[in-house]
């Protein structure tokens, strides 16, 4: 018998600390598999964020950095400019990328930095206990919006993929989701395309992944996947936003 599916060696043997049903583990696996498939393991570095994925440096068996909150694109910029022949990715959540790190991600795209960003959008702050994020949907209940996010008080959620797609330095921007097997496979294809964009030296690349947070949404893992399809995808449409 031949093994047709097993853990890639680009992931370490450390068990993920994430909650049951969290999307981070699925995306970690796919990023690691893409690094293996592209044969770039020995020249790839990753930058971990602050947030639930803060321990990402324990899980990838490549060089990893830990950046200050939101500053992963700035750290990746430094790495890439010193080692232009190497590949660098940042792995960031919505609190990291769409809130405290908005300036860094916009300016990294604006400068056309040849880096790849994996952006996990779960519409809530996970690590700190389920507070409202810039990506929280209108009406969505969180610990800091117990009656649901109010459009009048907090505005409407920010669409980072669309915003970054307007910037000339961005070469490849796509939004995908984890709510079905087909969408998981599409997400991996998008991650691969993003890394290939960097390898080709075309410019900034980002994949925004709509990901479940069962614990802070107060739903079961299966219900969370359905919630992505019913509530997130209508507001955050999937697809390639930009391809240079």
């Amino acid at each position: 018998m031949a093994t047709i599916f097993k853990r890639t060696s680009v992931l370490t043997d450390v068990p993920f600390h994430y909650c049951p049903g969290c999307g981070h583990g699925i995306v970690h696996r796919m990023v690691a598999e893409v690094i293996e498939e592209l044969g770039i393991r020995n020249k790839t570095a990753g930058v971990a964020p602050v947030g639930c994925a803060v321990f990402a440096y324990n899980y990838f068996d490549v060089d990893m950095y830990e950046a200050a909150h939101g500053r992963a694109p700035a750290v990746a910029t430094g790495y890439k400019r010193v080692h232009p022949e190497n590949i660098v990715f940042t792995y960031q959540g919505d609190g990291d990328l769409a809130s405290i790190g908005t300036a860094e991600i916009v300016q990294a795209a604006h400068r056309g930095e040849k880096i790849t960003t994996i952006f996990i959008n779960n519409a809530i702050y996970g690590m700190t206990g389920g507070q409202m994020a810039p990506t929280t949907l209108v009406g969505q209940k969180t610990t800091t919006s117990p009656l649901g996010r109010s459009k009048e008080h907090c505005g409407e959620p920010i669409r980072m993929a669309e915003m970054l797609a307007t910037i000339n330095g961005a070469a490849y921007i796509e939004r995908t989701a984890l709510n079905s097997t087909a969408n998981i496979i599409r997400t991996k294809a998008a991650i691969k395309k993003a890394f290939e964009t960097q390898i080709a030296g075309k410019g900034f690349s980002m994949v925004e992944v709509l990901s479940p947070c069962p614990t802070n949404w107060g739903k079961s893992p299966a219900e969370s996947m359905d919630w992505i399809a019913e509530n997130m995808i209508p507001y955050y449409p999937l697809g390639v936003m930009k391809e240079a």
Binding site: M1, A2, T3, I4, F5, K6, R7, L11, P15, F16, Y18, C19, P20, G21, C22, G23, H24, G25, I26, R29, T181, I184, I185, P214, S220, P221, A222, M225
Partner: protein, 68 residues
């Protein structure tokens, strides 16, 4: 012959593999607790598996291996 292997002690019992499987090969155990204290997924109908790998691709803890 396809063999689905659930690495039970890595499983957190989230059930996403059970949801993803089109052939009802997997189920969450009702009796066995793993070292983490979760009821892990287990194979209940090995014969029905068509090696689509949907369960393994969906597993957030990379706790499923498939042999064919």
């Amino acid at each position: 012959m396809v063999k689905v292997i659930v690495l039970a002690d890595q499983c957190k019992g989230c059930g996403l593999c059970v949801r993803a499987c089109p052939k009802s090969v997997l189920a969450i155990s009702k009796s066995h607790l793993n070292v983490k204290g979760y009821y892990p997924a287990e194979v209940v109908d090995q014969e029905a598996c068509v090696a689509c790998t949907a369960c393994a691709r969906t597993c957030p803890d990379v706790a499923i291996e498939i042999e064919k």
